[in-house]
Symmetry: C2
Subunit: 198 residues, 2 copies
Amino acid sequence: MKPQRILLVEDERDAREALARALARAGYECSAAESSERAHAILRGEQGFDAAVLDVKLGDDDRAGLKLIRPLRATGTCTAIIVITAFADLDKVKQALNDGASYLIEKPFHAAELLAVLQRVWSEAQDTSHLVERALQRAGLTTKEVEVAKLVLKGLPSAEVASLVGISDKTVRQHLSQIYAKCGVATRSEFFHYVFPS
Amino acid sequence: MKPQRILLVEDERDAREALARALARAGYECSAAESSERAHAILRGEQGFDAAVLDVKLGDDDRAGLKLIRPLRATGTCTAIIVITAFADLDKVKQALNDGASYLIEKPFHAAELLAVLQRVWSEAQDTSHLVERALQRAGLTTKEVEVAKLVLKGLPSAEVASLVGISDKTVRQHLSQIYAKCGVATRSEFFHYVFPS
DNA sequence: TTCGGCATCCGACAAATGTCGGATGCTCGA
DNA sequence: TCGAGCATCCGACATTTGTCGGATGCCGAA
């Protein structure tokens, strides 16, 4: 899957418009801002951005872009945050990393690079396999139980799981009972919520 | 919730043992390795680490710790990866960020700092609210539908959702039908899987 | 060898879930 | 003002899900 909505914050008009065009051409819906203030204004209006591309330097402020990272992370929007900068110094990169940036690209760069990074970082952020692995591991499930659990977590009904695993649908439900007990839950929904806390 | 199992990779024996003790005291189950090779060996044996704490320099190799980041990310274990280093130079920090590290701590540091960072980074990584927001936004749900959807995603049965929202349980199911239609799914499980792809 | 844990099946039942058809009232924009 | 969209409710039904009691066979550790 691809990210859909992207927040682009870049103060230089040419660069901003070029990137916005590139993003649009690649099928993204892109909201562009030229300053921190505009970015915040946009965020107040609409949420639900999948990713943000932030220039580090905005106008006078040498690291205005970095200051946007924490608020963005806090809102819970924006899964992937990419920062771009012409002058990567140690301090800025450290801050970017520790504030929660996903990637840093140095100017000058090709739009294609950004698109590639965007795609990669996004799909990594979307990946929930670690949550699944962890939860199942922690619960101490047996081999078969893990097999069943993973298929159930794919949204399949018991009958489908049964035919895929090659056992009876009754047995699948039996296993599930056992799984639920180990996880301390009682229903399929609760099990999902156990694996994906929210 | 706290992370449970931690992979600690640090070549200096004193530091390693001190950290391992501190982590154990804080209630973590900690596997320590003194080299890349040992780390890989541990990973071959057991998976399911929640977090990794990596020293950047291991033995001769100036950035052996950094080289562990990608494999760790690739395995799908390890939600949080913290790197520690005595000499943070621009190049190393850039690599750490772009390879997928979550945080960088500079030596010398107090064990308490590490514990605090671990806790923070871990809970951020656990947070799936952005997935929820994104999915619901993308589906174009109405206000009420979002309200219902969020409670359902908390694992609550329709009846509970109904009493929390203050509407009839039938109505909740009605809303859910609508929600499923918008998301292109047919059951609660599929809906979970729509929100949390895995 | 014997016993506990794992995997497998069955029948039966209560509860939860999803769907259909139909209904009312509200609000906002054309 | 008139209809579309939203929110709300109802009854009824087929399906799915979770549980209970009971059963068999296998394997590995005690």
